[in-house]
Amino acid sequence: MMHTADLLNLFAPHRGDAIVISGRGGRHWIDISDTVMDIPLGDPAMGGHAGFGLGLALAQPNRRVVLFDSEGDLLMSLGQLPTIAEQAPANFYHFVLDNEVYATTGGQPVPNAKRVDYPGMAHAAGYPTAVGFSELGDVATALPGLLHTPGPVFAAFKVLPEVENTPIGQRVRWRKRGAEAVVRDLRAALAGRS
């Protein structure tokens, strides 16, 4: 298992000009990068990040889109895997942070937490590349090559749970912009470059 912050710090130098949807890694990623190309959406509706990433990747085919999804989100919308595989965006990197629990609700395990083969599911749905990592050292070795592999690329990372038990209303708000402002700013930036 690895810490999400360590994984994100390892990824950051390889990011290039990719759009990064920070997903469940958002509260760590915002300390690493907070530009208009960073997309901290919070949790608009659980299970939808993969679809959002797909849509963004299809809309911006000349730019890599990297999504830090979670296994809880993925389990809620497994049917998105064949849709992504069918559309086959070569610029989409679908990374899943697998902490085996619903961390934001107190750490209850996701169903069959230790036995689900997420890369196997992605591969079976049609992703050409689907791999899993449990050690940071292995990620360090593989990540540069993985990010230059044509997508859609799926990678699952075993990460330590960061369980929150504080009542939602008392939690520290880490996002600096509302989700609607994040989307608005991204659209403006992309339009300005076209």
């Binding site: 939808g48 679809g51 959002f52 797909l54 849509g55 990747a57 809309a59």
Partner: protein, 172 residues
């Protein structure tokens, strides 16, 4: 020609509305009302079809397409729209995505005596979510689709076009 066919909304009319409103992508899940429309959309090189396996997925995909500068339209059935409530809330309304959802109105009867609860709850669902909607039943109603696009753009909110199912215009 039957009376039903005479008043149906033709798939060609729907495609024309999509073109007039510069739709780039159709995010959809097939239903019995849209099969013929599917064949036309598939043959159109300017439209990308993104098929989903559950209607709620269409909302986040459309949001991502919009965030990246595209103009998506969602094509689903009323049953799936109701299933998608939280995704509509979070991914479309929450992110100010001005998407038009064209929704097959399963069970619709003009006289209002429904035998299908899918129809019974459709407009109540939309009212509960405070989502603006328009009903189309025939080619004569087609301009309401453009009205829906204009309203979505102006309000930066999703707008629904309900396709009256009674005449099966798409499924000829």
């Amino acid at each position: 020609m039957t009376d039903a066919a005479a008043v149906a909304m033709s798939p060609e009319t729907v495609i024309r509305q999509m073109k007039q409103n510069h739709v780039t992508d159709i995010v959809w899940l097939p239903d019995s009302e849209t099969n013929f429309l599917y064949l036309l959309m598939q043959a159109d090189p300017d439209l990308r079809l993104v098929g989903v396996t559950r209607e709620g997925h269409a909302c986040s995909i459309a949001a991502g397409l919009y965030a990246g500068g595209r103009k998506p339209m969602i094509l689903i059935q009323n049953t799936g729209m109701m299933e998608s409530g939280d995704s509509i809330r979070g991914w479309l309304m929450g992110l100010n995505v001005p998407a038009v959802l064209m929704v097959g109105y399963r069970g619709y009867t003009r006289h209002g005596v429904n035998t299908d609860t899918a129809a019974t709850y459709t407009e109540r669902f939309l009212m509960a979510f405070n989502i603006s909607y328009y009903l189309v039943e025939s080619d004569a109603d087609a301009d309401r689709i453009s009205v829906a696009f204009a309203e979505a753009e102006r309000t930066k909110k999703p707008v629904v076009v309900l396709v009256g199912d009674e005449f099966h215009g798409f499924n000829r």
